[in-house]
């Protein structure tokens, strides 16, 4: 994409240095735990050591005698306000604090409020709880068997642990296609439960002002506006009214989806602040974070792929059991209980497909949030990209060749997939060719053959994924009924500087920089002179927040649209100033000039000044605009990744030797930031493939509940990622851009697993 702006303006395509960095490198970021308010007290939480138990009694007397302890809040306390249960985003219900039963290990049981962190921790230690342990249900398959212990006895008439059934595609048509397929491969694929484990854990400072019945909550949330509405809905009956609720999401130390849900801790802290009339701070520690916060994945999939003998894929069928823990608290759009899993036909022109899923309750923490991934797309991509390799192995075809043979051809875009999506744009062969060139694919295959002959284990894995991000068009996408638009409000100051506020919330993606670049691109105001603000519900326009790679596709588009509205008004002012008609003006970056007389122009700065000092009679003063952008479609970024692994024959240790990632996210706002997003995404794609898993023993103990066992890769485990780009703009996005924050997390795992399987394929391994 040709640059339209100079480096001074830094519109799209410039690797502008980040505007947020000066505070972070000085230790001047302001995260939730840095917030200290006068009179603030601290909350710490008593958690269940059992995965499933009756609570017989909670003894708080000793805790209340600990110096500094002010109060102990239990489920009974909250029950008094009818706040002991809350709704989940998926219309299920979740305990805030239990009254009689705990449903997973580390569930909140009581909260201790004290004058210091230390006293609160001592108080937690002094709370004695009598439990009657019960045998937990840990396996979703067993949970769905007849006769399994019914977990949700709170739900009247509930007789099993089945949550919902979901399906997409034509079952009969797909069955028929499978009958006709010359080759069918079938594989069970489990994607383990994992946790985003952002380095900053979750927490909040809830500050209820009794006099004004006003609540301010500083909290680690990716979606402050939606949270405000949730609080108003959940606690409206106790006097919290939406106009008197202010959610402030300050600097966020990584989100990745884990800071979308409303966790019980937040609600208890708010309740505690209301009860005590003091600001209450709650910050979870790492073990609480890993053991109680929402998980991702946990899909047990059985996938089948049918093809002709020559390798034309004809049919795909996937049956999934989804383990949702004790409540469905997934963060998906309402209509999509399985997220966007039906993207599972991937980058391939498969004519017949059917997928179905059943969700089960188990004695595990609730969730089903993202792990840097748009609504279950990682699971879908893993399934199809693994199956392509399984098929290649079956057909003894090179996996690259099989992919080329089945890619949706570039000329078929926009492409209607058999499971109902309209892919906006793509050029899959170009991305794979580029990746193969970058890594030297043919030479690697030769090397592999030589190594096999010597008994060495080396593998090459490919993943050619298609993402689906930017939720979403209002006709289909809402969360709790709120449509998934996003918003931007821009004000141009008289001196030609700007403030732009968005309904999203950066957690490290660099919105303060990239949004400013969008405004710079559209208005020619230097990005350095555009102040970007997000995260304060009192000042920012309503938006659904940052997750699922939706900021650029939705809020970024809103930014462009708001800027264009401003340009419309600016044009009127320019016509007034230049004394010509609007039709005689042409826009070049940063100025309107008279057609045929380029020396006659007014810069955006001139116009901004005039908007406050010399605007046309009859026109309102000022230069500002708001846009609530409802995307016409999702965006479909894609890419091809190739991974080379070496496996130590003696120990089985896998080492990633090289990893090339070619991404296409349409037009790029800031190449430096996009590369950073890809690097991070690749690392979070590698992590669950090789290191991370939240696992449980048969008693429901979380055996990866700290960083001792939840193995987050460090600098020695992470390879030097190599990146490349192709550019296929989105036809419907105002800037031609697509979301990119999660592409690499979605695309990397199958490349790595395919490489590992490839290293062992000659020994008969087909899947791991």
């Amino acid at each position: 994409m040709a640059l339209k702006t100079t480096p001074e303006v830094s519109g799209m395509g410039h690797s502008m240095k980040r505007k947020e960095d000066p505070r972070f490198i000085r230790g001047q970021g302001r995260y939730v735990d840095d917030v200290v308010l006068p009179g603030m007290v601290y909350m710490d939480i008593v958690r269940s050591p059992y995965a499933y138990a009756k609570i017989k009694a909670i003894h708080t007397e000793k805790a209340l005698k600990v110096p500094g302890v002010l109060a102990v809040i239990t489920g009974e306390t909250l029950k008094g306000f009818n706040l002991h249960w809350m709704p989940t985003l998926m219309s299920d219900t979740q305990m805030v604090l239990p009254v009689d039963t705990v449903m997973y290990q580390a569930q909140e049981v009581a909260a201790v409020i004290a004058t210091s962190r230390y006293a609160a921790a001592d108080g937690v230690d002094a709370v004695e709880v009598d439990y009657e342990p019960m045998k937990p249900v840990m396996d979703p398959f067993k949970a769905l068997e007849p006769g399994a212990t019914v977990l949700r006895t709170d739900k009247e008439g509930k007789k099993d642990n089945h949550i919902w059934h979901w399906e997409a595609g034509d079952r009969a048509d797909t069955d028929k296609a499978f009958k006709e397929a010359a080759v069918v491969v079938k594989q069970d694929i489990y994607i383990p439960r994992i946790h985003v484990a952002s380095i900053e854990t979750c927490g909040c400072v809830a500050d209820f002002d009794r006099t004004n019945t006003h609540l301010t909550v500083y909290m680690t949330t990716q979606a402050p506006h939606a949270i405000r509405t949730v609080f108003a809905l959940v606690a409206g009956h106790v006097g919290l009214s939406e106009e008197k609720i202010r959610i402030i999401s300050p600097d966020i130390g990584g989100g990745f989806g884990g800071k979308v849900p409303v966790y019980p801790g937040y609600v208890i802290a708010v309740a505690a602040s209301v009860v005590l009339g003091k600001p209450v701070k709650w910050i979870e520690d790492r073990m609480e974070n890993l053991q109680a916060d929402s998980f991702a994945r946990d899909y047990h999939m059985t996938a089948e792929l049918g093809a002709t003998r020559d390798g034309t894929m004809t049919a795909l069928r996937i049956k999934t059991i989804a383990d949702h823990g004790y409540t469905d608290a997934a963060a998906n759009p309402s209509k999509y209980p399985a997220g966007l899993f039906s993207i599972c036909t991937g980058s391939y022109d498969i004519k017949h497909a059917f997928t179905e899923m059943d969700a089960a309750y188990t004695n595990k923490p609730p969730g089903g949030v993202a792990y840097r991934c748009s609504f279950r797309v990682t699971e879908a991509v893993h399934a199809i990209e693994r199956m392509v390799d399984v098929l290649a192995q079956e057909l003894k075809m090179d996996p690259a060749e099989l992919r080329f043979k089945n890619f949706i051809p570039p000329e078929k875009f926009p492409y209607h997939s058999v499971l109902g999506w309209e892919y906006d744009s793509g050029n899959y062969p170009a991305a794979l060719h580029k990746a193969m060139d970058m890594i030297g694919y043919a030479d690697l295959r030769k090397e592999q053959a030589e190594k096999r002959a010597r008994g060495e284990l080396m593998g090459i894995g490919i993943s050619s994924f298609t993402e689906i991000v930017g939720a979403g068009p209002s006709k289909d996408f809402d969360i709790l009924g709120i449509k998934m638009f996003d918003s931007c409000e821009i004000r141009i100051h008289p001196t030609g500087k700007a403030i732009a506020r968005f309904g999203t919330k950066s957690q490290g993606q660099g919105h303060e920089t990239t949004y400013a670049q969008i405004v710079a691109e559209e208005l020619g105001i230097p990005a350095s002179a555009v102040q970007v603000e997000e995260g304060d519900t009192d000042t920012a326009p309503y938006g659904l927040g940052t997750y699922a790679s939706r900021s650029t596709p939705v809020a970024g588009a809103a930014g462009a649209m708001a800027a264009r509205k401003i340009r419309e008004k600016a044009k009127k002012i320019a016509a007034h100033l230049l004394e010509v008609s609007e039709e005689d003006l042409v826009w070049e970056v940063g100025k309107f000039s008279v057609k045929g007389a380029p020396q006659k122009f007014k810069t955006i700065q001139d116009i901004a000044f005039a908007a406050y000092t010399n605007h046309p009679q009859g026109m309102e003063a000022g230069l500002e605009a708001v846009s609530y952008y409802d995307p016409p479609n999702l965006t479909f970024p894609f890419g091809s990744y190739i991974c080379v692994v070496d496996i130590d024959r003696g120990t089985g240790a896998v080492k990633i030797r090289r990893f090339v990632a070619v991404d296409d996210c349409g037009n790029i706002i800031n190449p430096m930031i996009v590369d950073g997003q890809i690097h991070g995404g690749l690392s979070m794609g590698m992590a669950p493939s090789l290191f991370e898993e939240i696992s449980y023993d048969e008693n429901g103990n979380n055996t990866a509940g700290s960083f001792m066992d939840y193995l987050m890769p460090g600098s020695m485990e992470t390879p030097n990622w190599e990146t490349g780009k192709t550019v296929t703009p989105s036809p419907h996005h105002p800037l031609g851009a697509k979301g990119v924050g999660e592409s690499a997390t979605v695309g990397a795992p199958p490349a790595i697993v395919n490489a590992v399987v490839d290293a062992l394929a000659h020994l008969g391994v087909r899947h791991i």
């Binding site: 050591p49 059992y50 342990p133 089985g652 896998v654 090789l690 023993d697 103990n701 791991i768």
Partner: protein, 227 residues
């Protein structure tokens, strides 16, 4: 998880049975344990402290004989306890079988189903199993002293025909390590099962791919080499 242990002593089945069915006597063989009261003829309440280096955990709970069949030599008990600081708990169902192996030589087999919850199960990283082994070893040695009398004490049969403890485990009841109190101290215990509350546990976990690969590769290579 399931744990199986056995112990052979130079004593008669009757003497061994009398010992095993008396919680107070068994208690004395178990470091850190104390019976506090007898609730009914089959049920006892007590406490148990397990100290492993700097880590210590105190449980309080109950032990109940579900079956005491002297004729068959089968005892079945259930013991459950909760960590006094709310950090976890454990339950064990143990069946012991007393069989005469030779005149004057009796074998006791113990089959236990153990469930541990809480932080020790989470973070014990295999250690619980080893602690259980060491404790069983201490118990077995102490029981042998109790049942065999002076012969054992003089060290004639210090380690054989020993319990199936882990290699390298201390071979005398006075071995330090596991317990704060030595077995010789005439106090304390909850039950035979209670010590196994911290006994072994296995983890049926699905590991991240790396480890699956690691194991798969090695198993396969071993198999290929042997072939």
């Amino acid at each position: 998880m399931r744990i199986e242990k056995s112990l052979v002593v130079k004593s008669t089945p009757a003497a061994v049975w009398a010992f095993l069915s008396d919680p107070h006597r068994v208690a004395r063989m178990l470091p850190g344990a104390a019976i506090q009261e007898q609730i009914d003829p089959q049920t006892y309440a007590g406490t148990m402290t397990v100290k492993v280096g700097p880590i210590s955990t105190s449980y309080r709970g109950q032990m109940r004989f579900e079956r005491l069949d002297a004729a068959a030599g089968v005892a079945e008990l259930v013991a459950s306890g909760q960590d006094v600081r709310g950090k976890g708990g454990a339950e064990v169902r143990m069946t012991s079988h007393v069989v005469e192996r030779a005149p004057g030589e009796t074998e006791v087999t113990f089959v236990s189903d153990l469930n541990v919850s809480g932080i020790l199960a989470q973070m014990g990283r295999g250690m619980i199993e080893q602690v259980g082994d060491q404790m069983f070893q201490i118990f077995a040695d102490a029981a042998r002293v109790e049942l065999e009398g002076d012969a054992a004490r003089s060290g004639v049969t210090p380690n054989a025909p020993g319990a199936t403890g882990a290699p390298g485990a201390p071979d005398a009841p006075r071995a330090p390590g596991v317990a704060a109190a030595s077995a010789a101290e005439p106090i304390q215990m909850v039950s035979f099962g209670a010590k196994l509350m911290v006994g072994a546990m296995g983890r049926a976990v699905r590991r991240p791919i790396f480890w699956v690969v690691a194991v798969a590769v090695v198993v396969m290579l071993v198999w290929l080499i042997r072939r």
